[in-house]
């Protein structure tokens, strides 16, 4: 689905990503790599395939849009260093021609070398294009540009008159900022309250629906 914000075109993808054709930039947020392994280390059985599935989805996106840059809008790695970061390094070799950008989030606590060795450019607190300011948590934004954030893992509930309820991850576009859905499937949802003037796009298993 295509929308326009501040007169720049944004493509919303149901795989929980946005693409800016003008910048040739693909942006995702809240990847939480290593979360499953972090759980396993603590004795909670989450299979590896959970993170592998996230990376597979990301591969497909990169092959679909062929961006120059991939921007990760915070919470790239979930916690301490673990094997899933090594797996990520191996995966990333397939995409050496793409420039990886990380806007630091609250979970991104790795040593600087880790990012350096992975050839990920780190920005803190934000990364700006002509029109947009990418920042992990919009509450910390000091820019006049339109902010694109993540962090809260937004979700939306839809009700109808027979008291039926459905819950989906969503894109949120407000007056002065947007919130991206969490990219990782292994994350929960926080319901957002939208105002009349806001645009909210629910992500169903097969497509994006404006609500």
């Amino acid at each position: 689905m295509k929308i326009s914000v501040r007169e720049e075109e944004i493509i919303l993808d149901k795989e929980r990503a946005i693409y800016l054709p003008k910048e040739q930039l693909l942006a995702i947020s809240d990847l939480h790599l290593g979360k499953a392994a972090h759980f396993r280390k603590a004795g909670l059985a989450v299979p590896n395939i959970v993170s592998k599935n996230d990376l597979d989805r990301l591969s497909e996106l990169l092959e679909k849009y062929l961006p120059k840059q991939l921007l990760i809008n915070g919470d790239m790695f979930h916690s301490d260093y673990n094997t899933e970061i090594d797996e990520f390094a191996k995966w990333k070799e397939n995409f050496n021609e793409i420039n990886f950008i990380l806007v630091k989030g609250n979970h991104d606590q790795q040593a600087e070398e880790v990012y350096k060795n992975l050839a990920v450019e780190v920005y803190e607190p934000n990364y700006q294009t002509d029109q947009f300011c990418f920042i992990h948590d919009v509450a910390h934004c000091r820019s006049n540009l339109y902010a694109i954030s993540g962090h809260i893992h937004p979700g939306i509930s839809i009700y109808n008159k027979a008291k039926q309820r459905l819950k989906f991850p969503c894109f949120y576009f407000g007056e002065d900022h947007a919130v991206l859905p969490a990219f990782s499937n292994f994350t929960g949802l926080q319901l957002v309250k939208a105002k009349e003037t806001d645009m909210v796009f629910a992500i169903t298993p097969t497509k994006i629906v404006k609500v």
Partner: protein, 816 residues
């Protein structure tokens, strides 16, 4: 036995009190001394405690020097029970001059006392199932039970039908296993139980070995019970639905004054707070003379209430199931039950709280909270008269509890997988466990899961140098100890006055909605919320007169099938007026309205009401089979209807019937009705219908907590939980998508199938319906029968439409 030193000592002690033992007590002593295990079945108030307990004492007195170390482990389901029993036991020991210590160990026991117990264990240990498992999770625990002679599961009927019963089974299997390796096979295990429908099975669960010497000792005594309904003067004064019945509260006041002490039972904690406030409002003179008692009230306060009950200081106490069981408060001579007790056994148990001494009559009043409950009152009286008492089905093959137990052992002294497998195969709960299921469970705690799916870096239970499986990580061990148990609740926060002093606990969910300055009710006090500090809710006294009471998300009990059957019969009797029940006379006007607007179903009829209004298209059906069966039946009928046309339903139910609500017209006629209520293809259709609903996912919430996948925190204790927040729903998705063979997932579906669904009961209901007359009516307005379901908010969804199609339609409605 009569000639032994110990027996004579007991008899002469009883004589000084002008008492003598009941036959069932003497029988129990005899069997105990002969090495039997067994089950004592006696009504409350006849000294069940003194049956097995004195047996153990007599044996000790018969020895030259009474043994030391833990001799008797006495498992009680409730903390409040332990204190009382300890007191009674201490009195006996003192009078007889047996130098044994009685220790209590549960969630209320102070750290200092626990440390003291660690140095020298008491001879008699009163403990909850959870605390017993905590004990097994301690290093060195396997040497504690070397001299143990007997394990007693008190109020076994209460534990039997829950996962806590399985905790008892597992702990017993472990202690037997430990003693066996020490060459000791003398341990006797006794259950003490009120009357239930399956008493033989109750024995076979607590003493599962077929070769064991085991016996049921029944007291041939009958407790006299007098049941009286509190009737409204006019039926209009009672709401058709809703859960309060406060309009009848004024009728309680004379009852309270007339009695020495009254126990008032209410089904939920939230309602008990409301009733407490209301009674004080209408009778201010009661201030300081009534109290409120439930599980979320602070220990000190509960203690004070229980003391005051003993001393007769209080005129009335409003209680939830926290005071259900065998606590013996002498001054209590009257019991009031507010709202449906949902089962005959529970009602009789509560009645037994009054007139506690042998041969005294128990007096219980029933106060209905909505009109239809009057019919329930008549039904309960009949069922009680005919001793039509429910069975308690034991839990089997619950992998969540097994996983928790194995990690418990691994946190303690470690376990040998071959030996432990043999031990648990002996239990009733896991006698059907297959070797490959055992292998999966071991994999789950050691490597994370099946080898087909990789679980890199998984760390939990590892094999130590001595060949035993252990937990090495201190963090994992600590986290595990904090959540041993099978009662899953939302995270609870302690409530404390700014000036100091704890009041009780509320759910985190409730607090999260409060703003500073908001008021709420707890323990009968109106409190003003100030802030949350270090996981404690800080409050001050509020000046307001009224405030919201927190809703605790406790489980609601379904109507038992015994009661359901009697209830159907009573419905028929209302209009024919051939009955003896005053309750039925009172509700007659309501049934006349039902008859006018729709129809009153006879016992060989199933009534279906089709109602169409602003909200949408409703289908109501009334099988009277209890909430849980209706939930499945609702889903089943919804699924079968959705095979006819693409349609989405939301489902609501209560104990009498269920509702399907849709935004498009529901197809219905005689032919369709018999088809959708047909027992044909039942198992298959159920699988399909519950797959599409959220039932399994809901069950999984508890399972994930018990199996240790989701850490839910612990009342008042804050432990850092860095980057480990997750929800059961997330795990459910992960396993559903990537690990279909996960046994916890299977358990979730099986729990839905066997416990919730009660397949035999469902099949029987459908067969009954096939042979009955289905009556379809089209009322213009809600009827007395449909209205209570309407206000019930528990809902599930069922759909055959494409998701997108559904959203599109919902969107059009919501945003038009």
């Amino acid at each position: 036995m009569q000639k032994t030193k110990g027996y004579q000592q007991i008899i002469s002690w009883l004589k000084t009190d002008k008492r003598k033992p009941f036959d069932f007590q003497k029988d129990t002593w005899q069997y105990y001394l002969e090495g039997y295990s067994g089950l004592v079945n006696a009504p409350t108030g006849f000294g069940k405690t003194f049956s097995v307990f004195l047996g153990v004492v007599i044996e000790a007195l018969n020895q030259d020097r009474p043994a030391k170390g833990v001799q008797l482990v006495w498992i009680t389901p409730l903390r409040s029970l332990a204190k009382d029993i300890a007191r009674a036991m201490r009195e006996v020991l003192l009078a007889i001059g047996l130098d044994w210590v009685v220790g209590v160990r549960n969630g209320d026991t102070s750290q200092a006392e626990k440390l003291q117990q660690k140095k020298t264990m008491p001879e008699i240990l009163l403990i909850t199932p959870e605390s017993l498992h905590l004990l097994l999770a301690q290093k060195g625990s396997s040497s504690l039970f070397k001299n143990l002679k007997c394990i007693v599961a008190d109020e076994w009927h209460e534990l039997l039908g829950s996962k806590r019963g399985v905790l008892v089974e597992l702990a017993v299997s472990r202690i037997k296993g430990i003693q066996k390796t020490q060459g000791n096979e003398m341990l006797r295990v006794w259950g003490i139980s009120a009357t239930i429908g399956n008493i033989q099975e109750a024995l076979d669960v607590i003493v599962p070995e077929e070769s064991a010497k085991k016996i049921i000792v029944r007291a041939q005594l009958e407790k006299k019970i007098q049941i009286k309904s509190i009737l409204p003067d006019k039926i209009e004064t009672l709401p058709w639905a809703g859960h309060l019945g406060l309009k009848l509260a004024h009728k309680l006041i004379p009852i309270i004054y007339k009695s020495k002490t009254t126990l008032i039972f209410i089904n939920t904690r939230g309602q008990s707070e409301i009733w407490y406030q209301h009674l004080l409002d209408i009778e201010p003179d009661l201030a300081g003379r009534i109290a409120i008692h439930h599980g979320s009230i602070d220990f000190e306060l509960r203690n004070w209430i229980e003391e005051s009950l003993h001393s007769g200081l209080l005129k009335a106490v409003i209680a939830t199931s926290s005071l259900d069981l065998g606590v013996d408060f002498k001054p209590v001579d009257t019991v009031v039950q507010i709202g449906s007790p949902k089962g005959v056994a529970r009602f009789l148990q509560r009645a037994g709280r009054s007139g506690h001494s042998p041969f005294e009559t128990s007096k219980i009043y029933f106060l209905p909270t909505h009109a239809l409950e009057l019919v329930e009152a008549a039904a309960i009286k009949e069922a009680a008269r005919e001793n039509n008492i429910e069975s308690r089905e034991p839990f089997v093959m619950i992998f969540d509890t097994l996983i928790q137990y194995l990690v418990t052992l691994a946190v303690g002294d470690g376990f040998d997988d071959k030996q432990t497998y043999k031990e648990i195969k002996q239990t009733n709960a896991f006698k059907e466990l297959l070797p490959n299921e055992w292998a999966w469970v071991m994999q789950f705690i050691t490597s994370g899961g099946e080898s087909l799916t990789a679980y890199n870096e998984f760390k939990k239970v590892v094999k130590d140098e001595d060949g035993l499986w252990k937990v090495k990580s201190r963090q994992i061990a600590m986290r595990h100890r904090l959540h041993i148990g099978t009662i899953v609740s939302d995270a609870m926060l302690k409530v404390k006055f700014l000036s100091g002093g704890y009041i009780g606990m509320v759910e985190e969910y409730f607090v999260s909605k409060l703003k500073a300055g908001d008021s709420f009710v707890l323990a009968g006090r109106i409190l003003e919320f100030v802030q949350i500090k270090e996981m404690t809710v800080m409050v001050r006294r509020s000046k307001q007169k009224k405030a919201i009471s927190p809703s605790w998300l406790g489980g609601r009990l379904p109507l038992s099938s015994n009661l359901g059957a009697v209830l159907r019969k009573k419905y028929n009797e209302v209009l024919d007026q051939a009955h003896q029940d005053e309750e039925l006379d009172i509700v007659q006007p309501l049934f006349k309205i039902q008859e006018e607007r729709s129809h009153v179903p006879k016992s060989d009829e199933l009534l279906i009401e089709m109602i169409n209004n602003r909200e949408g298209f409703h289908l109501f059906a009334y099988p009277f089979e209890g909430r849980l069966v209706h939930e499945i039946l609702g889903a089943l009928v919804a699924y079968r209807l959705s095979k006819l046309i693409p349609i989405t339903f939301s489902i609501a139910m209560n104990d009498y019937g269920f509702e399907l609500l849709s935004d498009i017209e529901i197809p219905m006629d005689d032919g369709i009705a018999y088809e959708v209520f047909s027992p044909k293809n039942l198992a298959e259709d159920i699988t399909l219908s519950i797959n599409s609903t959220e039932m399994a996912r809901r069950k999984f919430r508890d399972i994930a907590c018990i199996a240790g996948l989701v850490f839910q925190g612990y009342p008042g204790k804050y432990i850092t939980n860095k980057h480990l927040q997750s929800s059961a729903g997330l795990f459910f998705n992960v396993f559903n998508d990537f690990d279909k063979h996960n046994l916890l997932l299977r358990q979730a579906y099986e729990e839905v199938f066997y416990q919730q669904l009660e397949e035999p009961r469902l099949a029987a209901a459908l067969n009954r319906i096939q042979n009955s007359n289905i009556v379809i009516t089209y009322p213009k307005r809600f009827t007395p029968l449909s209205f209570p379901i309407k206000v019930d908010s528990l809902r599930a969804n069922m759909s055959s439409e494409e998701l997108e199609q559904r959203i599109e339609r919902m969107k059009k409605e919501v945003f038009k």
